[in-house]
């Protein structure tokens, strides 16, 4: 065999131009409106939570590359995306160390220890959130009331930074003044005390569905603006970065059983719209469950996976030990992916039964 002066490779020789960084960038773009809304609603502290978490993820990724003696994989932008997703599922006033620990856990234990991007079993952002929720339940469930940047009580940039940095030496009155339950948490506590849906959601708490859709409710940093998250999801669908299978079925998997139970007894069970616009169902359906690496590759498998994520979310929210179940549902379903893929392989060309 002679050495050729031309490049020798296998067909095909042309390429559509899609690359991993481009995919990741699209998802980041799709998340940014909701992230910006998070900063608008919760103040500057939210921005710092995002910056610190993303930085923690990117630095962890690079450090692990160096330790393993591998070329840098920061360029694929998956670490940055993981950081953003994790930050958006954390309380907007999370202390700096919580962001660091979360980012490190997501990248190192959630991804790199498995072999890096493509080899991880669980969604890194989701597994890190579950880890934080179990390890630091107080910090992970202290939700500040919305303090819009435009509002009277808005913190300045430096105050926001101070709040993140000063933790865990948080001034108690500041934390107390800000902490309240999320609608889902509130609902769980109040119905647990024997109140009806109307009492739990109405009254002092004053749950407003329109506010929820816009994001003006308590909750994780970016989980709350259902409208902007849906727009981001539609952008990804239009760009064909994701397909409808997982988001659609996950949402249906949650709100259909919710609707059935609500129709049976609307004094005990909240209406499906409540499930839809509070908590992490939308961000989970469009951005978390659709993570390529940890979801099935076959369309049929994606439908099963989505339905499973939705149903588990509903089950955990309704009867589980936590008010919110999206991250648990996704992590549990992640574990079933190899099995789902194996049993949902499409029927190959020429293997279908047909009359000839």
């Amino acid at each position: 065999m002679t050495k050729s002066s031309f490049k020798i490779s296998s067909s095909p020789f042309v390429h559509g131009g899609l690359s991993v960084p481009e995919v990741m960038k699209s998802v980041i773009w799709a998340l940014l409106p909701a992230a910006a809304m998070g900063v608008m609603v919760f103040g500057w502290s939210a921005l710092f939570v995002m910056l610190i978490t993303v930085a923690a993820c990117v630095v962890s990724e690079r450090l692990f590359n160096i330790i393993r003696g591998r070329p840098s994989t920061v360029g694929d932008q998956s670490a940055a995306l993981t950081g953003l997703l994790l930050a958006m599922s954390m309380p907007p006033n999370s202390p700096w160390w919580l962001c660091l620990v979360g980012g490190f856990f997501a990248i190192v234990l959630g991804k790199q220890l498995y072999g890096g991007l493509g080899y991880n079993m669980f969604n890194p952002a989701m597994i890190a959130r579950v880890f934080l929720l179990i390890s630091f339940p107080v910090q992970m469930t202290s939700w500040p009331a919305p303090t819009p940047l435009t509002g009277d009580h808005a913190l300045t940039l430096s105050q926001g930074l101070a709040m993140i940095i000063s933790a865990p030496f948080n001034t108690p009155e500041l934390l107390d003044a800000l902490s309240t339950a999320t609608p889902l948490g509130q609902f769980r506590t109040e119905t647990g005390m024997g109140k009806t849906v109307r009492e739990a959601l109405g009254g002092a708490f004053g749950f407003d569905i329109l506010a929820a859709m816009g994001g003006m409710i308590k909750g994780s940093l970016g989980e709350t603006s259902a409208v902007l998250l849906t727009l981001g999801g539609i952008y990804l669908l239009r760009k064909r970065v994701i397909s409808w299978h997982i988001p659609m079925t996950m949402i249906l998997g949650c709100i259909v059983p919710a609707a059935i139970f609500w129709l049976i007894d609307n004094s005990t069970y909240p209406d499906p719209l409540f499930h839809l616009v509070t908590g992490g169902l939308i961000i989970g359906a469009f951005f978390m469950a659709t993570d390529y690496v940890t979801s099935p590759v076959t369309p049929k498998g994606q439908i099963i996976f989505g339905l499973g994520c939705g149903l588990l979310t509903f089950l955990i929210r309704t009867w589980g030990g936590y008010p919110e179940g999206v991250s648990f549902a996704i992590v549990i379903m992640n574990a079933t992916v190899p099995l789902i893929d194996q049993y949902t392989r499409p029927l190959t060309y020429g293997k279908k039964k047909q009359t000839l």
């Binding site: 050729s4 020789f13 042309v14 899609l18 991993v20 893929d341 392989r345 279908k352």
Partner: protein, 507 residues
């Protein structure tokens, strides 16, 4: 009419690669001057290689047989022009291994003199199936769409399953390539005549000339050519790669899928390329074998793209020189289309029956990014026209899980390259799938060998046992015989000693 459906069925998946057909689309077919030396490979088809039937120094006519078939699945090789056989040598061919192969070197004499013994059929359009097929076999015609399978076999009417419709494949879905559309525009009558002969051979009743919608010139020319022929239709298809793959074309027209491991005729349809049609016509009407073909020379790295009429055996370098040479910055030379072709190592490699195009691609046109880990995006599943799970095949092939490859249907892959085209991780999926196919075949033959060895050794053991038993039996027999003899002898002697007494007693 029977199996032809009124609507077109879209096959699963598919991609839209940048066509780049404008580069050579309007270039009329031109003959290239005869090169100084031709290298004609003895294997240009799928099947058994030919045996040379000429000797170095021998003078040959244009069209004279120089490579003989030694089995049915083979296609003869002929001299592309008149001249002298220089030798039978190993020469570079456009195989992607970069290994040389047996070629006949022919020095043209410049006379281009046809073999006077070559004759067509007397009444070709009334001829029977067998005489058409024989002419096609003598002419060394193979499928020119890429598979290079011997055409005479494809023209044998299958037993029990009549072929209703013949699809003439002018889809030409590979980017850059324009030779089929030029042939349809310039030689439409020849295409139709070839199709009529092939229909007679395989006893098909209808003929659809299938063309993608992006070739209005070819569509117009073919529509004109089939005027007055009631069983002919020009079928325009939407542009989608790989619409020209035979199974996907059959599915589009008949809504039926060729059974896995079966033949296209199982659906009642058969597919032939437009170039093949012309080659069949020349072989049957004039007895002229397949010694030339139309080659698109294109790519952004070529000075003057063209569609050339080239004698088989012409070194690629000659084509490039005729087209003004290469521009600076050519990174890759490809034989055939950029989706399914092969990379050329050496420009001395000759044009063969399978060469539809020679492409000079620059850095902007090719993919040159490092392979990354699969992120399981599922794009490959979405575009696969066979509905495979390409990423799962690759995963198994890479990890040498050969046992698991059949369950992901590795053998059904048509290697169209759509999966690799859309892969964001730049994984050369087709490469791994080819490796997987070979690993499965190797394992299968290994298993068969082991099974044969096992059977043989068992047979030997049984034979040894049987021989042993036979020996034992013989020994036993001999022992018994000896004993019997002894007994008999003893009895005899006893008899003799006892005899007098008896006599006495009797007495």
């Amino acid at each position: 009419m029977g199996i032809i459906q009124r609507t077109l069925k879209k096959f699963h998946g598919g991609v839209h690669p940048v066509e780049n057909k404008h580069l050579a689309k309007h270039c009329a077919i031109e003959e290239i001057p005869m090169p100084k030396r031709l290298y004609i490979p003895l294997q240009q088809h799928t099947g058994t290689p030919c045996e040379p039937c000429v000797a170095p120094g021998e003078k040959v006519y244009k069209g004279q047989l120089i490579g003989r078939s030694v089995s049915n699945v083979s296609a003869t090789v002929h001299a592309s022009t008149s001249g002298t056989i220089e030798g039978i040598t190993e020469h570079m061919v456009g195989h992607y291994s970069g290994l040389p192969d047996q070629c006949i070197a022919l020095v043209p004499d410049g006379l281009d003199e046809w073999d006077p013994t070559l004759k067509g059929l007397e009444n070709p359009f009334e001829a029977d199936s067998k005489s058409i097929r024989d002419k096609v076999r003598e002419g060394g015609v193979v499928g020119l769409g890429g598979a290079v399978y011997p055409t005479h076999i494809k023209l044998t009417p299958p037993r029990g399953k009549p072929v209703e419709v013949m699809l003439i494949n002018g889809v030409e879905c590979e980017p850059y390539i324009t030779n089929d559309s030029r042939m349809m525009e310039e030689r439409s009558i020849e295409v139709v005549e070839g199709a009529q002969l092939m229909m007679r051979a395989i006893q098909a009743t209808h003929c659809l000339i299938c063309i993608e919608a992006n070739k209005p010139g070819a569509i117009k020319a073919m529509e004109k050519a089939i005027q007055g022929l009631p069983n002919f239709v020009v079928q325009v298809l939407p542009v989608l790669y790989p619409q020209g793959a035979k199974n996907q074309l059959i599915e589009a027209i008949t809504h039926r899928q060729v059974p896995s491991g079966g033949r296209s005729t199982d659906t009642g349809a058969t597919v032939q390329n437009v170039g093949t049609s012309i080659a069949v016509r020349d072989a049957v009407l004039h007895g002229r074998p397949l010694i030339r073909r139309i080659v698109t020379v294109s790519g952004r790295g070529i000075k003057r793209p063209a569609n050339l009429d080239v004698p088989i055996g012409t070194p690629i370098q000659e084509l490039i020189d005729h087209c003004g040479g290469l521009k600076p910055g050519v990174k890759q030379m490809i034989m055939n289309g950029p989706m399914m072709g092969t990379a050329v190592h050496d420009l001395a490699s000759p044009v063969v029956k399978a060469t539809a195009a020679v492409l000079a691609l620059t850095a902007e046109e090719i993919v040159d990014k490092p392979e990354q880990a699969c992120i399981r995006c599922g794009n490959c599943l979405e575009v696969c026209p066979v509905e495979l799970t390409p990423c799962e095949i690759v995963w198994r092939a890479k990890n040498d899980l050969v046992d698991q490859l059949p369950e992901v249907h590795v053998k059904d892959c048509i290697e169209c390259g759509s999966c690799a085209y859309v892969c964001p991780s730049h994984i050369p999926l087709v490469h791994y799938i080819r490796y997987g196919k070979m690993a499965v075949s190797a394992q299968r033959s290994e298993k068969e060998k082991a099974e044969l060895t096992r059977q043989r050794s068992q047979a030997k053991l049984a034979r040894v046992e049987a021989e042993k038993a036979e020996k034992e039996r013989k020994k036993e027999e001999m022992r018994l015989a000896a004993e019997a003899r002894k007994k008999a002898a003893a009895a005899k002697s006893a008899d003799e000693t006892a005899k007098p007494a008896t006599v006495e007693s009797v007495a």
